[in-house]
Amino acid sequence: MVYFLRRFVFFLGTLWAAVTLNFLIPRLQPGDPAEAIVSRLAGQSESVDPAQVQAIRVMLGTPDGNLFDQYVQYLGAVLHGDFGISYTYFPYSVTHMIGQALPWTVILVGVTQIISFIVGTLLGTWAAYRRNSRVDSVITLGSTFLGTLPFFWLALLLVYVFAITLHWFPERGGYGGGSSPGWSWLFISDAFQHSVLPAVALLITGPIGWIIGMRNNMVQSLGEDHTRLAVARGLSRRRVAITYGARIAILPNVTGFAIALGGILGGTVLVETVFNYPGMGRLLLESVSSRDYPLMQAIFLFTTVGVLVANFLADLLYGFLDPRVRKVESA
């Protein structure tokens, strides 16, 4: 019980820290966001009168008053899920824009990461089962080599070869001009075609961490006393490997899955940019280049909170799977 309580407190603590960090980052910059949009408007039309400036301030909810008041106001807004209006997609709210982009990223990352985890764990198990054999060195050296390739570059090469040269897949976007998002067969098949290359880009490097982690954990657990006992009892080699080696070795990979999520989301920003895929990563970059601060802040907060929730769930799962952590933490 102490273990779960500690994890919950840690989760609340990181949640608070992430929300506060999100509040502090924009205040590190000189000048204020409302000024930025005013000067942007001034660039497009001829003149901006003070009343317009005031209106923008009110519209964006740029808070006046001292830092503490601003902080309290900000916490209230976050609790209500109110992230203001996007500068670039006016009059849409930030929440609306994120709602549009979120499913794309969740599906792309979700599907590719589950496949990566399964494939990586299986290959790692195989390498450990046949350790020091040709299979082992092909798998380990192969994944070490693939891991050194920068994967936004791999994504660029995929576009070059399969979209532009061979025309097998569309080169950019999430769906074609002929369809609009909805539950129609046309849209779903179209979206699937558009997602193949981004998914492949994520899948080439995705399983590497799991392969190496699983192999090393399993080689270690195969050397432990309980495995030796199992061998002495005359159990088959396969059974020893799966129920005595792999079952224990897979545990650290469960928490690894959640920790890796932060890095994976970073990779998604790059991949979505290469393919112009309409997910959170591209929205983040768009908001950065158009200086749409409310949108950018909210995306950062959403991403971080998503990772924190995933970590918390992995911690809980780990507590159920491995009784040792519960004992150690409560002792």
Binding site: G13, P150, G209, G266, G267, F300, T304
Partner: protein, 309 residues
């Protein structure tokens, strides 16, 4: 960040013999022992040679590059030709010259951000592990927070707010977002070290905390610190390339990331300029490969079971 897989110790490897041989070689050639151990590892030797190659190119970049990387007086979007081996950019700059000068940027960022984030990790990890108590609780919380916050979105957000985009900004942003992993490893290492007998002995002898850390603890973590530095430098090189590719790098610096950004925006794919597209990415992967190979040797340094003859 992935650490290379430590090889399984060969059964009955004659580690003492190897060590004796290493010290013997070191004595005759006056090379430091650690270097001999690294050099005797075949993978590591290849990695060291590759890295040395990159360093030479970076140091002598202005001499090696055929043209000024910013000189845009050439015909635009050329494929590989005799006078431009890797072609020219959409602005008419020489790709090969940019590639050569880009080595400099990557190595500077790797070195500077690697040192900076190793220092942050060392200070925080050492303090947390050595002081313990509530200080450890607070610092451990910070470390865990740093581990879970997604680094690239944080880098992008920080870079977006910065008033000036210089190379130093990139280095600082990368260091601030990349220290947590090293700090966690150093903290757990120091917790096992601080209760060792020789530390207790030093304390009874009247040594102060600073002296114990500097004289007793840090020398025993050297390989860990070096591995940490290599990992941080590797992460920094990748981070700079990623940021620059997203168009958030220093617009005045030529780097492999900005080259890929320009190639992607400048239509290298549509004009079929494969050399412009492939060269920067390949250079980046070779540099990363050299680090990974060297790490095999450093693993051997800290774990005698892994040493090769």
């Amino acid at each position: 960040m992935s650490t290379p897989a430590p090889a399984v110790p060969a059964p009955g490897a004659d580690t003492e013999g190897v060590q004796a041989a290493a010290t013997a070689v070191a004595r005759t050639t006056r090379l430091p022992g650690w270097f001999v151990i690294l050099w005797r590892n075949r993978k590591c030797r290849i990695g060291l040679l590759m890295l040395a190659g990159f360093i030479l190119v970076a140091v002598f970049a202005p001499l090696i590059a055929p043209y000024d990387p910013r000189d845009d007086a050439f015909p635009t979007s050329l494929g590989p030709t005799g006078s431009h081996w890797l072609g020219t950019t959409a602005q008419g700059e020489d790709v090969l010259s940019q590639l050569v000068v880009g080595a400099r940027t990557s190595l500077i960022v790797g070195l500077a951000a690697g040192v900076l984030s190793t220092l942050i990790a060392l200070v925080i990890g050492l303090t947390a592990g050595f002081v313990g108590g509530w200080v450890d609780e607070v610092l451990s919380f910070l470390i865990n927070l740093g581990l879970v916050v997604p680094a690239l979105p944080l880098m992008v957000t920080l870079a977006a707010y910065a008033p000036v985009r210089g190379l130093w900004l990139i280095i600082i942003v990368i260091s601030v977002t990349g220290w947590a992993y090293g700090a966690r490893i150093k903290r757990s290492q120091i917790i096992t070290l601080r209760t060792r007998d020789y530390v207790t002995a030093a304390r009874f002898a009247g040594d102060g905390t600073a002296r114990i850390i500097a004289r007793e603890i840090v020398p025993n973590m050297t390989s860990l610190i070096v591995v940490g530095f290599m990992g941080a430098a590797l992460g920094a090189i990748g981070g700079e390339a990623g940021l620059a590719f997203l168009g958030l790098g220093d617009p005045l610096t030529v780097s492999w990331g900005t080259m890929l950004n320009q190639a992607s925006l400048g239509g290298a794919m549509l004009t079929g300029q494969w050399a412009w597209l492939i060269a920067p990415g390949l250079a980046l992967s070779l540099l990363i490969t050299s680090f990974t190979l060297i790490n095999f040797g450093i693993d051997a340094l800290s774990n005698p079971h892994l040493r090769e003859d």
